[in-house]
Symmetry: C2
Subunit: 616 residues, 2 copies
């Protein structure tokens, strides 16, 4: 049964998951190192990953890669069981830097750079965020101006707020950067584009005109060399423009296959969606590792004596302890299956609308998964008391390293607003396109009909819903609650936003911001539940299926419980029934407690990467 | 007006607060140091505090101290604006170690040791927690056995789980420890008592039989040298027993003024209540510092352009951003005033019942204040995006250093259970006495009538309640909601626990554990609101009073909003009114937004200790 559970979790990329685990198993934790040595260690391990073939998975076969986009995300997820600085550094080098060259560049860029990027001969950076513009990258201020005299671009940082900030690989190792800048040619502005800008010479010294600063110590991820880049009229050949979505001719004429500056930019960003999906997956792995440690400790730790037996009670037998860990564990299962659906969607994406839906789902799952990571790892730390605070027991590092996930690769609050936008506009545009009040105006102009489209396991869900009773443990009833909430919250939001005019769009949108976030959250919850339902359905082993079915109950009911005020306010639950939901969550905690260890073991966190003395 | 607000916050110990701030102002942040150097730096600063008179405040006048117990907590709180390792190390040396010698020892211990403790000539440890027993310290396993042959105690660690763990000052600096052990004499066991055990010689080497281990790196507080102590039949003179609550005669006869082993132990623990109150205060200071940084950043940071004005929006103008910071800011105000009430109660404690109520309130406020710190500092970190993740902006350190507050000096979950116990038993016994199922049995035996006793500003609250309308912004209505919730939750809990028999006490208590925690929380919320009401009432400046009155509204309504499911489930709020509460919180956020800066400035966090580049 343990194997059947593991197989269910391993899913579509089971083989690749196992080989990635083997590669990770060849590495060993760094132990405590001063920052400089830790960075050096991370670079060494990155080379080991390169030598072990890790980066090949996601790159094109014509450059020696394996063309397995989904697999590359799964392999990244597996790195989340290991050192998180290494995972992030790998993400920067191959996902962001390499991914940008691949997605935004054309054949000459691929031929020239991809082999060296994969082999790590060319370490590079993804220089998008600026000190003054993080969420609103469309308005970043670095410029790349075409000079027809020399047929070069002049890359320039016009003021301190245009400094590139928090750039991974910049402070120590990067030789080249993909720099996002406002493109100017022929006297006209064409919006944000990306260019390849060499930043260091072969000896590692900054090139003329390139300013490099170290961001210094961080809360975590100190094995990643984040830095700041400034450019003082740095010249690069015209060919360095990554010109898949917009090119400049020698005379400065601009040409693009995508019309409209905003749409062009968000089309470019859309091709980088893999980054967000990867962060959601990495956050999931870190959370699983924390839960593995906390559950194993809670199964052996005893505190306070039972008077009837005279024995000290195992802390996982306390309801309060189960409440801390088991709903979070159920949510980790739910997010795992949702993540796999998302990776599959990325791998199989076929058309423009599917791409936009993918971007929206990636934004939503990234926000929910990373907040879940922060909250759950914190709960795990507290559940291990003083021992959880010691670095040797690994939770401290997991907490510190994952903390930034909620704000990097898109601030979660901003991302959820993009999700709501996608829903309200039926994915008319790419995620990020239309600023928030633009959305309000758009909604105001439309007769928006809110349609809940089932994403995973449509046929199963149709059947569950149509045959459902009103029992709390009826999956159909649970799905109906999730769908009903999403529809109602969205419809109410659309009504509010329709009041917006050109004059009051900011006020109307701003006053509804908590409503916007709630709508997005309700949507993501529903998509996650559907993924879980589909996973239960495809589980062939009866006893494993019973188990994950109960875990799914716990997930569904704990989501309803957490938002039961909404269900009460909208007459969806009576007071008596709302209390019954709380009782059902307690009952499920007790019911699942004996399976807690099996449930975390199935995550397959390698022993060599989870050696904490408290569970030794 | 800014000064009137500051005066209101400074309160009863205003003068001492200012002189403590001056002393702190003479120190400077350490910057980034390797752990060894950081520990050495902290010890140096501790000497500077000793030289500056900091430790004198709380110690007896007859030993050169100032007999100002409340003032000693306020001075500790002020240290929370500075380096938190220094604050904790000061707390270990003077609060825990010195405090234990003072509270549990008798004149000869005071004469011999207090001067050297205050001057730091005798650095020491408070060795209570063991690896196997943290929350349940009554069952710790270290033994101190009287040997009548030599008239000594033999202190011994019988097995690895009896190792003293996480002991501050142990790994590097401590010369002596107050060791809590099961006392054995004359062939009988007398329960846990404390003894003075020298652990290092004058050269800093461990004494024979004393094992000292370093706990190694931690999530934070790395300037504190936490360690592990084991004792291999270490002999100390009989006089080393801190014998205020129990003494052993040369022949091994035991004598105590307090009857009953449990009661004796919790009487001893009760005298150490200052530690928990100090942690609540320190957590409050760290939270205020985080809010100061996040609010000041949110007032200058701009993101996304308003189409109507063409200007980028200040992020604190976004409702979502206000929602993150302003209710937390209001709660910090509320907890500040509750903390001052608590410190006053400690300072003025008169009788046994007042002492037991104090212990209960200290437990409750410690739990609520430290969870508030963890959640708020996290929100502040996220509200500052990537910049919030950099160590230079101080939030990373605040987060890491305060994280352990939720589980040290009493695990919050356990503490809240003690609060509920106090309420259900009308403070019959000391906090900690009666194990959880003992409480269930106790309640079962009693006809418990739940009485809500108003703690602060009784007359004002009587008036507010009796004249109250049902408007959401009517303070009397708010107080009634808090009181009604507490009473109802407690009564329901008492009914449930009354079902307990000797056979099912564990099951009954365990099944009600979430109910227990909710009851305690409801109680603490009410006590905190009362303290806030009293503070508003004593504010003489009209415009300042209006401002804090609105802040109090935001606190009260955000508490009701967070638990509105309960109010709906119990018919206390209609759905329409519950939605109106959410709307009122939004309105108050918008209303208070212009005052946010003034509200954080009044905390008076010193500039030299809050120099973050993002607010420079």
């Amino acid at each position: 049964m343990a194997d059947a559970l593991r197989d269910l979790l391993d899913g579509r990329w089971a083989t690749l998951r196992r080989t990635s685990l083997e590669l990770l198993g060849k590495l060993e934790p760094a132990g405590e190192l001063p920052r400089d040595q830790y960075r050096a260690w991370v670079l060494d391990q990155l080379r080991a990953l390169a030598d072990g073939g890790h980066p090949l998975i996601g790159f094109p076969a014509e450059h020696g890669g394996q063309d397995d986009v989904g697999g590359s995300v799964v392999a990244f997820e597996v790195l989340g069981y290991g050192d998180l600085s290494l995972m992030v550094k790998a993400g920067v080098q191959w996902g962001l830097f390499g991914g940008a060259v691949q997605a935004l560049g054309t054949k000459r860029h691929h031929d020239e750079h991809l082999p060296a990027i994969m082999s790590l001969d060319l370490p590079g950076c993804f220089a998008m965020t600026e000190t003054g513009h993080g969420s609103d990258v469309q308005h970043l201020r670095t410029t790349a101006t075409h000079d027809p005299e020399t047929d070069e671009f002049v890359v320039h940082t016009p003021d301190p707020s245009a400094r590139k900030d928090y750039i991974g690989n910049a402070a120590r190792d990067g030789r080249m950067a993909v720099v996002f800048a406002q493109l100017v040619s022929g006297g006209a502005e064409h919006g944000v584009h990306a260019l390849l800008v060499p930043i260091r010479d072969a000896e590692g010294n900054p090139l003329p005109g390139v300013g490099i600063e170290d961001c210094g110590p961080k809360a975590g991820l100190n094995g990643v060399d984040n830095g700041r880049l400034t450019f003082d009229r740095v010249r690069v050949p015209r060919a360095n423009l990554l010109d898949r979505y917009g090119t400049v001719h020698p005379d400065g004429t601009y040409e693009s296959p995508v019309e409209g500056e905003g749409r062009r930019f968000f089309t470019m960003l859309g091709t980088l969606v893999r980054g967000r999906i990867s962060v959601a997956g990495g956050a999931g792995s870190a959370t699983k590792k924390a839960l593995t440690i906390a559950v194993r400790y809670a199964e052996r730790r005893r505190q306070f004596t039972r008077p009837d037996t005279g024995e000290e009670v195992v802390v996982l037998d306390y309801l309060a302890h189960q409440r801390r860990l088991l709903p979070a564990l159920a949510t980790s299962y739910a997010l795992h299956f949702a993540q796999e659906e998302l990776v599959s969607a990325l791998h199989d994406v076929s058309d423009d609308r599917a791409q936009r839906e993918l971007e929206s789902r990636a934004a939503g799952l990234k926000a929910v998964a990373t907040w879940h990571a922060t909250a759950t790892i914190q709960a795990c730390r507290e559940a291990c008391g003083g021992a959880g605070y010691l670095s040797e027991n690994l939770l401290a590092g997991l907490k510190a390293d994952t903390d930034v996930f909620t704000t990097f690769e898109g601030d979660n609050t901003v991302l959820l607003q993009l999700v709501a936008k996608g829903l309200l506009t039926s994915y008319r545009d790419h995620v990020g396109d239309l600023d928030p009040w633009g959305m309000a105006r758009f909604v105001a102009d439309q007769a928006v009909g809110v349609v809940i489209e089932r994403t995973a396991a449509r046929a199963i869900i149709d059947r569950l819903v149509s045959g459902s009773s009103d029992a709390l443990l009826d999956r159909g009833w649970q799905v109906r609650q999730f769908e009903d909430r999403e529809r109602h919250v969205l419809e109410g939001l659309a009504r509010r936003l329709r009041r917006a005019t050109a004059d009051n769009a900011f006020e109307v949108f701003n006053a509804a911001q908590d409503h916007v976030l709630h709508a997005a959250r309700a949507h993501v919850d529903r998509v996650v539940l559907e993924a879980f339902v589909a996973a239960v359905d495809r589980c062939a082993d009866p006893s494993t299926r019973d188990l994950v079915d109960r875990v799914c109950d716990l997930y569904a009911l704990s989501v309803i419980e957490a938002d039961r005020a909404w269900f009460l306010e909208h007459g969806r639950l009576t007071p008596a029934r709302a209390k019954a939901v709380t009782q059902a969550v307690n009952d499920l905690c007790r019911l699942l407690r004996p399976d807690a260890r099996r449930l975390v073991d199935a995550f397959g966190v390698p022993e060599s990467w989870s050696r904490a003395p408290i569970i030794a």
